[in-house]
């Protein structure tokens, strides 16, 4: 009985858990056994594996699988052979397979990367994560990266600090003109954007001079290296006949980089920003305006309203630029940057300028303006740079030629025609060499610049008849001005570092020679005549500056203290040939500077600084002869040398957590400027006479700002908020009465970007500005100007399909002041983009609401200017993009 039971149970068990064994041999087409083949058994039509094994050296395999009613699939895979599959039923059997040799195509590179990663001091931002379909250039993406902000002038800032270098694949092709990269490099050829948080661009100084300035590097995709990339944009529209055309060529190889573009538009796009040198790149102590053209006399023109230039600017602009870099065999680089801008701009509008006066009254001037400005600007830089860990050598030869002509028609009490022509030339050479001798570093630097700046201003009918023509009306006044400058700045530095202590000695000599000539001619009774010496200036001004400075940097744990103690001896020489007057002065300045930088924790940094700067003021303030600044302003300054001393205090606390994409900073600064000359204004109807007098006076400015940025990486929400407050107090002499002026300004900005959805993206920017200015606030309560401005920009994109985008740009702007009622403006553009295989087509309807004029206001000291600017009419535009 027991035996029968055992037999029955065995049969049942076999029925329930029957195992089938599939075995066989795998050979290649030459009947040779193939070892190490993955053999798996699957249920036909399913992906999951029931059993697997590998073949032995003889190509044999054996698979055990549970019995099933489903039909099975035997699959053999190995690199170098085609996948072999054979159907089978679930029973023990032998299945031999023959493999055919074939190149195995493994899955292509698929990268799943964190959007933000940190490696040492470098933060990597992966462009594919931050980019969206509506973006075109890398600048569009960089502005969305957490912690990075691009301000309207194009300066890139990281947690509020301007970057000191902008690299492309580790090479500094564009120097300060990095807006060219932001506005020309397509985002889809860039793999990642890197931020070097504390970057020292001079490699030899890497170990000695700690930098706390950030730098940016855009790392291109491997597939685009060495390739020439050509891009074309053709656009046309109406009304009037509109055009936007661009052709761009790019190449980025290991030893050569190249960007060149020609662009044209008459749709209000301002090209000048693209070739502007970013101030932040300049060395400390040097400002961008050192060699900029002077603006002593000009045509009265309309200020730029705070909306996009494409809303109001009537222009006709051509831009060509070429930047190329070549790495030589000794790792040195030569760079050539060329640019040419031909820009014609027209603005039409209405100005009402009101000047507050100490007596409580005010002077108002209303003008209707119609201006046209034609600028031709050519610039070239040739740079040789050797920047390795043993030496640094850089020579930058730069040249600039600029011609601008401006015409303006003013309608107030009559028609006033203004014409100005302004040629400007600059030639500049900058040399710097650093060598290391043992543990000491020697820096030799020399800069020489020569410039010629002349300006001619014609005003008809002749202004200021009381001053210029004995109260008799005359036809035309012509102001001629020449300013020639020669500056040579030479010095040497010695840097020593011992453990945590770093010492820096520098010495040098700067010589600046400036020559200023001006005279006024008038056309009276059809005869041109030069005015007397009271309207003429011929000034030769020179400044020899010998300086010696020592600075010490002490590092104590995470705290760094920098103390700079420069002493300089200045000798000034001033000669007015017209007045036969000579004035010399010697001044010794001590300009200490103390900076404390403390890393409070991994994320918090505290910076405090104090600096005293004694310097000479603007030498043009020594012009005793009258200068016609514009048709309603004439100035006559003092002959004494202007001096000023500035005390500046700054406090910054910043938080930076790049991996969490959270940044914020709070800063406060206070500066007090003490001057020996006081500028004065006398108002007579719509004529203003500016003079200056010897009077010690003080200008103090307080600034407080805070900003915060949080990028919610998973939700792809980028939130940015900032507030700025500033006030300034000064003394002015208005209509022969001393007045204290007080002005304050507040602005708050909030930005929101939402890119999570595959079908839409959303961007909103809200800005609130408040300005207030008052004269003798205590005595004349209510005697002030103030106004508010609120602007909301909304950009939305709907991705209908992979290649179709509908976009809408809406701007609402409100303006209200204490003198007039609130004005609201609504601007809207709507567009459609369709991507074909190689061509992208974009249709756009601009200014749908057909706003005709836009009103806003500006405050400057005791002046409020309310302007109404003509807006570009509704237009339809078609653009076509393709690559070659």
């Amino acid at each position: 009985m027991k035996f029968i039971l055992l037999v029955v149970l065995t049969i049942c068990a076999n029925q329930l858990f029957c195992q089938c064994i599939i075995s066989g041999k795998i050979t290649d087409s030459l009947c040779q056994p193939v070892a190490d083949v993955n053999v798996v058994v699957l249920i036909r039509g399913h992906a999951d594996i029931l059993a697997y094994c590998i073949t032995d050296a003889k190509g044999l395999y054996e698979l055990e699988c549970t019995n099933t009613k489903d039909s099975l699939l035997i699959r053999a895979t190995i690199i170098g052979y085609a996948i072999m599959e054979k159907g089978a039923i679930a029973k023990s059997q032998t299945i031999n397979l023959i493999l055919t040799p074939q190149v195995t195509e493994l899955p292509a590179v698929e990268i799943k990367r964190e959007p933000v990663s940190k490696l040492g001091d470098t933060i990597n931002y992966h462009v594919s994560y931050f980019a969206n379909k509506q973006d075109r250039f890398i600048g569009d993406v960089i502005s969305k990266i957490p912690g990075i902000d691009i301000d309207p002038s194009g300066t890139v800032k990281y947690n509020g600090k301007p970057i000191n270098t902008y690299y492309i694949n580790g090479l500094n092709l564009l120097e300060g003109k990095y807006s060219i990269a932001n506005q020309n490099i397509p985002y889809d050829i860039v793999d990642r954007v890197q931020v070097f948080q504390n970057h020292q661009p001079i490699k030899i100084l890497d170990s000695i001079e700690n930098s706390n300035s950030p730098a940016l590097n855009i790392e291109l995709k491997n597939s685009t290296r060495n390739k020439f990339i050509g891009k074309v944009k053709i656009g046309t529209g109406f009304a009037p006949l509109l055009g936007e055309n661009e052709i761009t060529g790019l190449k980025f190889a290991k030893k050569m980089q190249f960007i060149s573009a020609y662009k044209y538009n008459n749709t209000g796009i301002k090209f000048a920003h693209e070739i502007t040198d970013q101030v932040s790149i300049h060395k400390s102590g040097e400002t961008a305006d050192d060699n900029a053209p002077e603006n002593l006399n000009s045509v009265i023109s309309q200020p730029q309203p705070p909306v996009q230039t494409t809303r109001y600017l009537f222009n006709n602009s051509h831009l060509f630029h070429l930047s190329t870099l070549k790495r030589l065999t000794n790792k040195a680089q030569i760079k050539l940057n060329l640019s040419y801008l031909n820009d014609m701009e027209e603005t039409n509008g209405l100005n009402r300028s009101t000047f507050l006066l100490p007596a409580g009254n005010s002077v108002a001037i209303t003008e209707s303006l119609k201006n046209s400005l034609n600028t031709n600007k050519a610039a070239a830089n040739f740079i040789y740079e050797l920047n390795d860990r043993k030496k640094y050598l850089k020579n930058n030869l730069a040249g600039q030629a600029q011609f601008s002509n401006e015409n303006g028609l003013v309608v107030n009490n009559g028609n006033i025609l203004q014409q100005s022509s302004h040629p400007f030339y600059l030639l500049k050479n900058d040399f710097e060499a650093i060598v290391a001798i043992k543990n000491k570093f020697i820096n030799i630097h020399s800069q020489t610049a020569i410039s010629n700046d002349s300006k001619e201003l014609n005003v008809s009918p002749g202004p200021f008849p009381s001053i210029l023509n004995d109260l008799v009306a005359y036809q035309k006044a012509m102001q001629n001005v020449w300013i020639r400058k020669l500056a040579s700045k030479n010095g040497a530095d010695l840097m020593i570092k011992k453990h945590d202590f770093q010492q820096h000695f520098s010495t040098g000599a700067d010589i600046i020679i400036k020559k200023f000539e001006s005279f006024i001619e008038k056309d009276f009774s059809q005869a041109m005549s030069k005015l007397s010496d009271s309207f003429r200036n011929e000034i030769k001004w020179s400044n020899l500056r010998l300086y010696a400075a020592t600075s010490a940097t002490l590092k104590m744990g995470n705290t760094r203290l920098l103390i700079e103690l420069p002493v300089e001896w200045n000798t000034y020489s001033y000669k007015n040939t017209v007045l036969n007057f000579r004035n010399n002065a010697d001044k010794v300045y001590f300009n200490p500077n103390i900076i404390l930088i403390a890393s409070l924790s991994t994320y918090y940094t505290l910076e405090m600084s104090y600096a005293r700067q004694n310097m000479h003021g603007d030498f043009l303030q020594t012009a005793k002869g009258f200068v016609l600044n514009n048709y309603r302003n004439i100035s006559q300054k003092d002959t004494i040398l202007p001096f000023q001393s500035v005390d500046g205090y700054q406090f910054v606390i910043s938080y930076k957590n790049p991996l969490n994409a959270l940044f914020y900073n709070v800063s406060a600064s206070y500066s007090s400027v003490e001057k020996n000359l006081l500028s004065t204004q006398t108002y007579d109807k719509f004529y203003i006479r500016s003079t200056s007098m010897t009077f010690r006076n003080n200008l103090s400015t307080l600034r407080i700002s805070a900003s915060a940025n949080k990028f919610f990486l998973n939700a792809k929400i980028n939130l940015f908020g900032s507030i700025n407050y500033s006030n300034s107090r000064s003394v002015q002499l208005l209509n022969r009465q001393l007045a204290s002026a007080f002005s304050e300004e507040f602005s708050g900005t909030c930005k929101l970007n939402f890119d999570k959805f595959s079908f839409a993206s959303f961007e909103s920017t809200s800005t609130l500005n408040y300005f207030m200015s008052t004269i003798n606030r205590k005595s004349y309560a209510g005697n002030n100007f103030s106004f508010f401005q609120f602007q909301e920009d909304i950009k939305t994109n709907f991705f209908l399909t992979k290649n179709k985008i509908v976009s809408a740009v809406i701007t609402s702007s409100s303006f209200w002041d204490n003198l007039s009622e609130k004005r609201n403006y609504y601007f809207a553009n709507i567009g459609f983009r369709q991507k074909f295989r190689k061509i992208e087509l974009q249709l756009e309807l601009r200014n749908i609401t057909n706003v005709i004029t836009y009103r806003t206001a500006y405050l400057l000291s005791n002046m409020q200017q309310v302007t109404e600017t003509q807006i570009r009419p509704r237009s339809f535009f078609v653009q076509c993009y393709f690559n070659f």
């Binding site: 190995i78 899955p107 698929e110 001091d121 890497d206 570092k497």
Partner: protein
């Protein structure tokens, strides 16, 4: 003549190919998170490990360590202060895994090199794990991956492998599944290897160690443990001296070293 030329060219090409046996065929990068302290979930250390599959072998190493080595060589000769500063900033990835594993496919042997002060190495048999396959699948890096589990060296693991990539290996010592392992973690998620990049081999290993001292695996594991728990003894063994500071009375006392937690992936030595 043409035939001769053809044969010559074929031979030349095959010579060229033969020399190129170490060319990287395929590469997989893993994000490797390891919990340094088994009692503290926040003590996670992240590294990027690279599995480089060559024709005859595979190499498994820390990508970050290699990057750190390259940076360290670049900075060679710079002042000590700078080097210390850079080390603090993480430029040399000093804490990344220094172990390099080389699997010789034909010999079914694995050579392991590890650097403390000296470079030690040992060889062992490749021991494929016994896997249990499950029907669950999930998509990793666009590849359909199937679930498998195993118990290995004291820990239970869940792996996800892709049959579309028919390499029978994975990170660390894992192997034996009929496809590349794209994710594997122990059931407590203390050790997680997650593939972030697969594709044709691009990044070659920057530098393998020049020469090594043969040592039994046990010694290497002991050194590893000492490095974490008893730096005084470790310094004595590796450097032949321990760090000490002079006292006022002329004697010296050892510099107290921070005791780090120790949670090795391989528990087999603990189990012994």
């Amino acid at each position: 003549m043409r035939t001769h030329l053809f044969i010559f060219l074929v031979l030349l090409i095959s010579q060229g190919n033969a020399q190129n046996t170490d060319s990287v065929l395929y590469m997989c990068k893993y994000r490797y998170s390891s919990q340094k302290d088994s009692t503290n979930k926040n003590s996670v250390f992240n590294d990027i490990m690279c599995l480089q599959i060559n024709k005859l072998n595979s190499k498994y190493y820390s990508y970050l360590k290699q990057l750190g080595m390259r940076n360290s060589e670049e900075d060679n000769g710079k002042p000590l202060q700078y080097l210390l500063q850079m080390q603090q900033q993480g430029r040399y990835n000093a804490d990344s895994e220094s172990e390099i594993m080389i699997n010789e496919f034909a010999q079914k042997r694995r050579k392991v090199l590890i650097k403390f002060k000296h470079v030690y190495c040992y060889t062992e048999d490749i021991e494929a794990q016994k896997w249990k396959i499950y029907p669950e699948t999930k998509i990793i890096l666009k590849q359909t991956c199937q679930k498998a589990t195993t118990f290995y060296k004291g820990r239970s693991y869940v792996a996800w492998f892709a049959t579309s990539i028919p390499y029978r290996i994975g990170p660390w010592e894992f192997s034996g599944l009929p496809g590349l392992i794209l994710r594997i973690s122990d059931t407590n998620e203390q050790f997680v290897f997650e593939c972030t990049e697969i594709g044709p081999g691009r990044d070659k290993i920057y530098k393998e160690y020049d020469g090594c001292t043969e040592a039994p695996k046990k010694k290497v594991e002991q050194l590893r443990k000492l490095f974490a728990t008893d730096m005084q003894t470790f310094d004595q063994i590796e450097w032949g001296a321990s760090w000490s500071r002079p006292n006022a009375d002329g004697t010296s006392s050892p510099v107290p070293r921070k005791i780090k937690p120790y949670n090795p992936i391989d528990l087999s030595y603990k189990l012994e």
